[in-house]
Each structure stands twice: as C-alpha cells, then as structure tokens.
C-alpha cells in the first residue's frame, strides 16, 4: 500500500474520533512539554552561572592573600617577582581594593576602588568605551589617572564626556583617562561601580601596602593548571603556611558547575520522561479500544486482501501520528512553558534544539512502542472472527 493512501486513511480514522484523539495527543504533549521545559530551564540556569563565572575572564587564576602581618603580605613588586619565569602566563595584575568617594564638582558617588597595573585589561578582558588604558609608565611613576565604570560616569557626569576631567578620590585629584565598557555582574557586585587607578597610586591612597589579590591569566587551559601548581609552590616556599593564600581556578570551577548542572538536567529530564511514558500508555489504551471497535473493519480489510503486515502498519501509523503530533505540539508548548517560567524566575531559557529532537524521537518511539501490542492484536485477528462481529 502506498504511503499517501495509508496516511490519508490513518488521518480519517483519527479524525473520526476527534475528542479521543485530542486527549490522547494531550498526554504526549504534556510529556514532551515537561521534558523540553525542564531542559530549557536547566540549560538556561547553567548558562547563566557559567557566564557569570566566565565574566571573571577566561583561563583566570585568582590568588588571594589571606595572611596578616608584614611577613605574610605581598607588594605589587613581589607579585612581579613571584610570577617571573613561569611559562604560559598571558598577563598578571595585582589588585589593591578599597572604597572611595568620587567627587566631580558638587556631585558625589561612593564607589569601589581598584588599584591595578597595565596588564589588568588583558587579564580581565576589559573593554574601553572611550579613552585609553594605563601604560607601564602610569604604574611606575604613580600617575594619578583613573578609569571609570559606567555607573560612576552616569552619577558624576551624566551625559557629558568625562575624559580629561579632574575628579577627586578621597580628596586627591585624579585625571580621568577613559571609561570602561558596560560589564554588569562580577564576583564582587557590579563592575560598573568601579574606579580603576594604578596599583602604585592605590597603595598610597588606601594607605595600605600589600595586595590582597592578584590575577594571573594563562594562555590556555593546560597552562592554567601548570601555573597554578607553580604559584602554589612558590607561595608555600615563601609563607610556609597553606592557609596564607588561596588559589581559585576559574576553569576548574566552570567544569564543576557544568558537571553538576548536567547531572541535575539529566535527573529532571528523566522525571519528566516518566510523564511521556504515561502519555505512551494513553496511546496504547486508546489503540486497544480502537482495535476492538474496528474488529469488523479489520476483518473486511483482510477479506479483500490486506496482509497481516498491512493491518499492523495501519495501526502503527495511527499511533505514530498521535505521538508525532503530540511531540510537535509538546515542543511548542514546552518552549512557551519554559519562556513563562524563565521570565518568572528571571533565568534565561535556552531552547534545547538537540533536546527537542530527542524528545520528538522519544515521543515517536513511545508511540510506536506502545502501538506495537494493539497493532499486532489487530493484525492477528482471524478474518472470519472479525467478520462475524456485528
């Protein structure tokens, strides 16, 4: 029998029981929508967490100095010394943190102050909106120059151009040499609230020698591990105390987060898959009813020459159509569902194309799988038994 004729006959059979077909399809729709929705939300949250971690900068090592006292601290020169001669380093920047009140004219803004060096832009993937970044001369000669984050600019300058203007940071005058591109969330609140100045100037302004943190950027994933080991060795030799420092490997963190969220996604998707199975049982149920109702039809078809195979494929096609339509509608409603939940809990929904393919495939497998038993019952009906039914 040609496929077009089979399809037409299947469609007629399903349309002759619209409500029943619709309810059966609904079972599959709910199953597929649950799978798609769960995966979309899970992947969305994973992507959000990942991008937050990635916003720290790629291949980044964060070294925190936790020791107190003169023997357990590092100056910016120490950092240079400590990292010298290690292979695979793309950039190093010490960071001195503090807070400052920035003033321009009569306007004031409390911002976080970061003392960094000329490599900080490379290390942290910073982009400038206008102006220039620090040069080595700015650092070595303790220039009083500053780069402003977006929020700082908005508060102090409104819409006017800040580059070349003088601002006061804790009473000292700094010249604005540039504006950082918007960046959003970071590990310590939004980075748009920051003011960057040369680390050497920051040590004086904050009144504290010693850097609390420094960043190292590796050239690739492999070098990050080697650098981490090398730095750890050197720091231990210096401090003789493992608690005096901590090295935070962003790549490793990312890996952990990815692993955890993949496991969670899989787990949630399996739970959602159960509802798809229930949908499949619905198909089986309705196909069994349909076989009984159409006993006479089956007998007649066999009498005029339908083989077992013809009858089998007719019923399998019907259950595949139910689950296929359910699968497609399920993907659509799953996407809508994910979108609604995502906007409610403020997580981006990632539409899982691969997941949609898999869910549709699963729906078809479920439909055909649960259709096999009813279809073979139909196919095995003896023609005279079937014709006798009045």
């Amino acid at each position: 029998m040609d496929f077009a004729t089979s399809l037409k006959m299947g469609l007629k059979a399903l349309l002759s029981n619209r409500l029943r077909s619709a309810l059966t399809i609904l079972g599959v729709v709910i199953g597929v929508a649950a799978v798609i929705g769960v995966v979309a939300i899970a992947q969305g949250s994973q992507r959000q967490v990942t991008s937050q971690i990635e916003s720290l900068g790629t291949y980044l090592l964060t070294v925190s100095i936790r020791g107190r006292g003169a023997d357990k601290m590092l100056t910016s020169d120490d950092v240079t010394e400590l990292t010298a001669g290690i292979d695979g380093i793309a950039g190093v920047s010490p960071v001195v943190t503090g807070s400052a009140t920035a003033k321009y004219g009569t306007r004031k803004y409390d911002c976080s102050l970061l003392g960094v060096n000329e490599q900080y832009a490379t290390v942290r993937d910073l982009q400038l909106e206008t102006g220039r970044f620090f040069t080595q001369i700015d650092i070595s000669t303790r220039q009083k120059v500053a780069l402003l984050g977006q929020n700082v600019v908005a508060e102090l300058f409104g819409l006017s151009d800040p580059v070349g203007k003088d601002i006061k940071l804790n009473g000292q005058t700094f010249v604005v040499i540039g504006v950082l591109a918007p960046r959003g969330g970071g590990p310590a609140g939004t980075e748009d609230d920051q003011v960057l100045i040369p680390v050497t100037s920051a040590e004086r302004l904050v009144g504290r020698r010693g850097v609390s943190t420094f960043y190292i950027r590796g050239q690739d994933k492999e070098s990050v591990k080697q650098i981490s080991t090398a730095i750890s060795d050197r720091l231990y030799r210096r401090f003789r105390d493992q608690d005096a420092y901590r090295i935070f490997d962003q790549t490793q963190m990312l890996q952990t987060v990815t692993n955890v969220s993949q496991t969670l996604t899989l787990m949630l998707a399996s739970i959602a898959f159960i509802s798809l199975l229930v949908g499949g049982i619905g198909i089986m149920n309705i196909m069994l009813v349909s076989v009984v109702e159409r006993t006479k039809e089956i007998g007649l078809r066999k009498a005029v020459g339908a083989t077992r195979r013809d009858i089998m494929s007719q019923f399998l096609l019907e259950s595949a159509m139910l689950s296929g339509v359910g699968g497609v509608l399920g993907i659509i409603s799953g996407e809508i569902l994910a979108g609604a939940i995502a906007s409610a809990i403020k997580v981006p929904a990632v539409f899982p194309w691969a997941g949609a393919g898999i869910a549709l495939g699963l729906a078809l497998v479920v439909g055909i799988g649960f259709g096999i038993y009813p279809a073979s019952r139909a196919a095995n009906l003896a023609p005279i038994e079937a014709l006798r039914t009045e």
Binding site: K296, E297, R301, G305, T307
Partner: protein
Amino acid sequence: MIKVENLRKTYRAGLVEVPALRGVSFEVDEREYVAIVGPSGSGKSTLMHLLGCLDVPSAGRYIFDGVEVSTLGEDELARVRNRKIGFVFQGFHLLPRLTALENVELPLVYRGVGAATRRKRAIRALELVGLGARVQHYPNELSGGEQQRVAIARAMVGDPILLLADEPTGNLDSRTGADVLDLFRRINETGCTVIMVTHNMTAASRAKRLLKIRDGLLEGDERV
C-alpha cells in the same frame, strides 16, 4: 476450477469439538453459477469461508485455480483473496468512514495499484452496478440496495475469477434483492464463476446449480 475432496472443519468451543463440515466433496467448473443452500447451522457458511480462503480446513483438500489452498500461508491466502476472489456479504460490510468510491478502491489499494488507475477502475465498477452518480456518497447516505451494489462493485473491481456471496439478499426487500440477483446473473454471463450461499429458495432458484448442505454433509447436487 474448484475441487473439494472430503473437506472437514471442526471448531473448538471450549473443551467441546463442534464439527461444522464432516467431509464434503464436489467440483465447480469455470463460468458456473452455484447456490449453496441449507438450513442455518448446516455448515454452509463454514463452507463458504473455506471456499473464500478466509479459513483453512481441518482436513481434506481444497484445490482452487490449480493451487492446493491448505498449503498456503496467511499472506498467500490474503493474496489469493485479493486477486482472485470477490466477496459480497449479507451485512454489506462497507467501511462507514470511506466514500463509495474509496470502499470500492480498497482491494486495489492492497494490490498496490496507483491512485489514478485505482480511481478510474473503481468508477468504472460503480458505473457497471448503476451507481456512477453516487461515487462520493458515504454508506449511510445510500439505501440498502445501493450499499449492496457498492459492495458488489468492490467485489468485482479487481476482476476476480470467483464471486462469493453470503446471503446477499438477506438484508434487502424482495425487489432490491431481485435487482442484486440480476446483477449476479450479468456478472456470471461475463465469465465469472458465482457461488452464493443462501437459505432463500427464491434466490437459489436463480442459480444454475444447487448444492444442498445439511448437518455438515452434502445432501444433494442438482443442475437446473
């Protein structure tokens, strides 16, 4: 064309074996018009199922068109039914969701005939039974006589060599019944063998040969 030797069929009802045919032998030649008559329960329907390859005998031989039917598998039986036999039933057995045309096309669908050819042949078959104007009607829009004529068109659309009818006039009034019997005579005159099972003697008298069945045995064989 048909050769039946000591044909037996036993049904199993629970633990009890019910013999429906207890050894029937006869031959039917090409172009014959045979009526099989007998009271209900005589085994005539069973005989018809066996002749129509809808069921296989418990014992005995049935040779149809040179082929020993008892040796055929299920798919081969389906093929024989599809290509060589046309069926007409008492209850018409039209599929209610299909139009007259689609019902008539059905045997050709299972023969793998293309849609265009199928349609052409089905329309011709419907015209031959006088329903050329009703091709797009559904069975419930047709009278009993018309439904039976659609069923006859379906039986004849594949040019079978044997037309088997099971109480074809049983659900019809005498006038439409007579029309159907006229149709059978015309079909027989074109060269198709016709075998009709009935307990209606008026219908049976239209045939050229009468096979009488009683209690699963052949009781008489008369040529008119």
